[in-house]
């Protein structure tokens, strides 16, 4: 089986006597779209926080591209090739869409250090051209000059995706990209993720079952901080344990 890009071993974390995550083992192969589903409060976002470095585990470890990144800060993991989007849209509302993505490009280690004090950024054409490409990839090419705060909710989700892509990640952590989007906006988002999946590995946390079953190569189910099963979409759909703990009897 392809060498695992991301491996989480025995990850545990409790918040004041509440076991948010308990001995979670999880692995993600390069090129795969691996979905993580589970009822509200199962610990999905907490899990992503631990993978992205926003939170530190009580025990267990996180390995990325063969390296133990457990103790690395978030910005170091991003530099190592791991990018994330947020459950609640988190963009620079006062900046134009182009500036938002330009910041992401500027932050990349291969795009030169940002400790530059003399040359105005406006004169760095290459930076803005690259940012424009990423906007095109997410279908926001014509919205470059619009202030992010005035974009629609769906467009802001797409912008956040563009910013994550602009860091040229190997692994993309998507935290409920479809949250709060209307039917045709989520359809466009699914197409987008399908297109992205061709050249980046994706860990997808999502409630929208149609999107999950359409996009995911593999699915893991998290309930009360514990991973109860991992497998192909079909296997998970028929697994009795999942059915009882998560989907109830009607599925």
């Amino acid at each position: 089986m392809a060498e695992a890009l991301l491996e989480v071993r025995q990850l545990s974390r409790c918040f004041a006597a509440v076991d948010a995550l308990k001995d979670v083992d999880f692995s993600l192969d390069a090129g795969e779209v691996h979905a993580l589903i589970g009822p509200n409060g199962a610990g999905k976002t907490t899990f992503i926080h631990h993978v992205s470095g926003a939170l530190q585990p009580d025990s267990g470890s996180v390995h990325f591209a063969g390296r133990d990144v457990t103790r690395l800060a978030m910005h170091q993991r991003v530099a190592a090739g791991m990018a994330r989007s947020y459950q609640i849209t988190n963009v620079f509302r006062g900046l134009t869409a182009l500036d938002n993505v330009a910041l992401a490009v500027q932050g990349r280690s291969d795009a030169g250090s940002s400790f530059r004090f003399w040359r105005p950024v406006r004169s760095e054409r290459r930076l803005f051209d690259e940012a424009q490409d990423f906007l095109e990839q997410v279908g926001l090419a014509d919205k470059a000059a619009i202030v992010a705060g005035q974009l629609s909710h769906g467009e802001q989700r797409a912008l956040e995706l563009a910013m994550a892509l602009a860091t040229k990640p190997q692994l993309l952590l998507l935290d409920e990209p479809m949250a709060g989007t209307g039917p045709e906006e989520s359809a466009r988002m699914v197409e987008l993720i399908e297109h992205l999946a061709r050249h980046v590995t994706i860990l997808l946390v999502e409630h929208d079952m149609d999107a999950v079953f359409r996009l995911a190569d593999r699915i893991s189910v998290l309930v009360n901080g514990q991973l109860i099963c991992t497998g192909t979409p079909e296997a998970v759909r028929n697994d009795t344990g999942v059915r009882r703990a998560y989907l109830g009897d009607h599925l």
């Binding site: 991003v78 530099a79 990018a83 988190n90 620079f92 910041l103 400790f115 004090f117 950024v121």
Partner: protein, 315 residues
Amino acid sequence: MAFYRPTRWQRSLTIVLLTLLLGLPMLLNSLEQGFYIGFATRVLIFSLAATSLNLVLGFGGMVSLGHAAFFGAGAYIAAICQQAGLSEALLALPLAMLGAGLLALLIGAISLRTRGVYFIMITLAFAQMVYYLFISARAWGGDDGLPLSERMRFAGFSLVDDAALYYLALGALAVVMLLLGRLTEARFGRSIQAIRENETRMEALGYPVFTYRLVCFALGGAVAGLAGALLANLTGLASPALLQWTQSGTLLVMVIIGGVGYLYGGVVGAVVLLLLEEVLLGYFAHWHIVLGLLLLAIVLFAPKGVAALFGRPRG
């Protein structure tokens, strides 16, 4: 928030002002008012100090209530250099900047681990610690501060004449404003402004947020050290009063009056405050009451400050 962009006519206004200021000493001497050259130098120096705080507070988003520690440290380092026989400003000023910058690096490294109200109070407490350090060393003059026996020389030219020190201060302010103007529009400037707006998002884009803030804090400290060294030459005394937290409060007031996050916020704030003080002191001994009421009015009714009229943020 948007990235700070100076308005079109701001550049031409600066050039006009600069030429006016170049002629000021001659004008003052012709009017036989030599005293006001020293006053003008004081305004230039406080503009420099307030601008250094504006870099930390306005662009870096860090509410530091201990900035006077670096301002005073610069003054003391200049006085100590002079006491040790080094009275060449070309060496002493960079030394003061280096010393104050390192002090800022040290205090920043600890303080920047905290956020919000804790950060405000810790910078306040550390500045008070620096105050006690300087006044308890008898070699540095204890409570009375450290006098400079005479003013330094700059590249051989004696600064004893007020106009000479005035031009040195004007030159220093002009250079710093030029560099700050470039910095805010360069990559570093955009990064710290973005960090000020949304720290977690920048961390998620791979920016080592702590390091950026620390560099910004240290740069602000270094420029404040330069202003302190110049002030020590003007007054001939590195006085402990410079290190007191009420001095940090005054610098903060200047930046807020002038306009937080505007390139000329520090300069305008210093000019307005010091001119107001000079004019009002003549007529109203308890002018601090007027200043206090003015500040309250600004907080309650005009939070954006005076300089908002100059560089409206673009977009």
